[in-house]
Amino acid sequence: MLAAYQVDGLVLDGTQAGPSDAVRALQTDLRALGYLGRGIDGAFGPGSLRAVRALRYDLINNHGLSRSDDGPAPVAIADYNKGRITDIAAGFDQSLAACLADLISDSKVPKLPRSFDPLADNRAALAAVSSMTDATAPFPFILAMAVQESDSCHYCIPHGNDGDDFVSIGLDRNDKANPDRITSRGYGLGQYTIFHHPPRMEEIARFIVDPVGNVATAFAELRSKFDRDVVGPDSEADDRAAEHPVLALRLCRYPVSDKRRMADCQSCAANVPTVTIRRGTPLFQGSSKSCQPDNLYPSADYGAVPDRSAFLCDWPYAARRYNGSGLDSFHYQIRILLNLVRQRAASGDAK
């Protein structure tokens, strides 16, 4: 059976106007295979074009290996090329349509899950996070990160023309030589990130379908960053080293017996002094780099940001390391801290 976009002579390069069912079908399949970030609206725009080019890159280059140490993909996308795709820069054509249809119809190629009731599923997911008594990492940080990572949505919520109800996905394109190439993908509520594609069936079951599993993975990941990438042993957070060169790693100001331990982060965030960060503010005292807007974060002006150095724990530093170590990770850190304060305000309003 042919897919709706397998139409002789149908070529899409972003110049076509108006939505169509063929494009909607194409977007749905690109979404299921993890090439389109979000939006199934039937209009072939720049986002769809980038998704197509990312797939073309993979058909030529993706042999199933990981860019990191998280194991190989279950299949090699390049095996589905069969000599049909030789050029990354082109748009959608019938050769690509054939490859895409092959990928979709092969049950060995994992597809991303979607929800019948994303609203209810997301609510259940957040409730599960809040009730997690896991002392691995402080859940308020996880919640604040979920807002930043996925707008607290494990599944996309369809609205208007957009029928997207797949698991939320974040696409990183960090290969300067191949700007359309997707280098890693974060999935779901906590945007747990993997560096091979497609994900293995076991991974889909463990943290892509199940939001609680997804968050548990995020907890473990955040804790690992805390334990290994703030003061070592794997790496040192440069902001932490500049601001607390003397202190040993601090888990929480409250003792084990205190119920606020690893749980009252929103109050801590609301009670520390705040700082104002503007375009050009050094990333930390003594840093040669400063806060600047970029593609991902168009503004570099933040008011009343809780001062990370005034926290009596090192989770603000770990939260940044969850996102990496570059300029973006500082934007990320600022937003997490702001989210903590906003969440406190929101929960205060609710009371």
């Binding site: 500049a242 601001e243 003397v246 202190l247 100001r253 005034a310 926290f311």
Partner: protein, 355 residues
């Protein structure tokens, strides 16, 4: 029969003697401390050893020490010259302020960065431990540093007290020799019935005239403190002079044999015995010329008594004041001297006293 009360009276006489002499010694010691600014010097060297890098050849020129010691909070209290008393809290605040050095970062971070930049030294080590205990909380850090400075100041005070005691011992020996206060000789003279019966009254009168002699005359007050105020050394010197004159008056009015007048007569009893038994090698007339060896022998005879006196003086006025008061109180519970006319003495004491 030797009455127990006679012994008590002798003890009271000795305690009174030592108290008065301690007051003289204290005045002299205070004078020396004022002239040489010993408190200020001890405070400065104590703080230098706390704050300076021990590797530096001149700890008092160590830049970190100089900036803390020169801080307004440390210096401002003193009217002139180096301070001799500084509240520990001020040192804490000065120390943290120097570390913070006007940084815009949050206080704890600013201090932490400064500590990290200090050369490896005990001060850096101590502050690092205190910072880790505080775990980022500036208020906890201030409390911990306060406590630490307090303890260090106690040690500095201890050093000062030890130095004072050594000075007191030296001064005590000079006084013992200077006034020829031979403890053994004094004790013997106090056995004599006349001196023995008078001494309690003398002591009581002395205590009535100097109710706080033991309290304000503690020379061991170190260069520390919350309540003490920093005084001008010149004022200290004037006070020491006045105390000295006062104490000298008291010494001259003591009904005990001190001074050089009768030195060469030796012990009154002994000289009597020797006069009886032997042909007189001990001259009766103090003005008669003496042989060199005789004088030397007398000096050796007096030496143990002088040493005892010096050791007693080094214990300080507060010690003797308390002891004297205790002995007088003990005396008050016992038989009254015949002429005692104290209506406040409870009657039952009087009854028991007949035993």
């Amino acid at each position: 029969m030797t009455n127990l009360w006679t012994i008590l009276n002798v003890a009271i006489g000795l305690a009174l003697t030592y108290l008065v002499l301690s007051l003289v010694a204290t005045a002299i010691q205070e004078g020396i401390a004022a002239v040489f600014r010993l408190r200020a010097a001890t405070l400065k060297s104590g703080l230098a050893s706390l704050l300076a890098d021990p590797g530096s050849k001149k700890p008092q020129l160590d830049p970190f020490f100089v900036s803390v010691f020169g801080h307004g909070l440390v210096q401002r209290i003193s009217s002139k010259g180096a301070p001799s008393y500084v509240p520990a809290r001020n040192i804490t605040l000065a120390l943290l302020d120097v570390l913070k050095d006007g940084s815009q970062a949050n206080e704890f971070t600013a201090i932490e960065r400064a500590v990290a930049e200090l050369p490896p030294s005990p001060i850096r080590q101590s502050l690092s431990v205190l910072m880790n205990e505080a775990s980022g909380d500036i208020d906890v850090l201030k409390t911990r540093v306060d406590k630490w400075i307090d303890d260090s100041m106690d040690r500095i005070s201890g050093t000062y007290k030890r130095n004072v005691q050594i000075t007191m011992l030296a001064v005590g020996f000079v006084i013992a020799c200077g006034f020829n206060v031979d403890s053994l000789h004094v004790a013997k003279s106090l056995w004599a019935p006349e001196a023995n019966s008078k001494i309690v009254q003398t002591a009581t009168n002395f205590l009535a005239r100097h109710p706080a002699a033991g309290k304000k005359n503690d020379p061991g007050q170190g260069p520390v403190s919350g309540s003490q105020t920093d005084q001008d050394p010149a004022a200290d010197l004037i006070a020491a002079k006045a105390a000295f004159a006062d104490a000298l008056d008291e010494v001259s009015s003591l009904p005990i044999p001190i001074g050089w007048k009768d030195f060469l007569l030796g012990d009154p009893k002994e000289s009597k015995e020797s006069k009886d038994s032997k042909d007189s090698n001990v001259p009766k007339d103090p003005n008669a010329p003496k042989g060199f060896f005789f004088i030397l022998a007398r000096l050796f005879e007096a030496l143990p008594g002088w040493i005892m006196t010096a050791l007693a003086i080094s214990l300080g006025a507060p010690f003797w004041f308390d002891l004297l008061q205790g002995l007088i109180n003990l005396r008050a519970t016992g038989p009254k001297p015949p002429r005692a006319d104290s209506p406040e003495t409870p009657g039952d004491n009087k009854q028991r006293s007949t035993s």
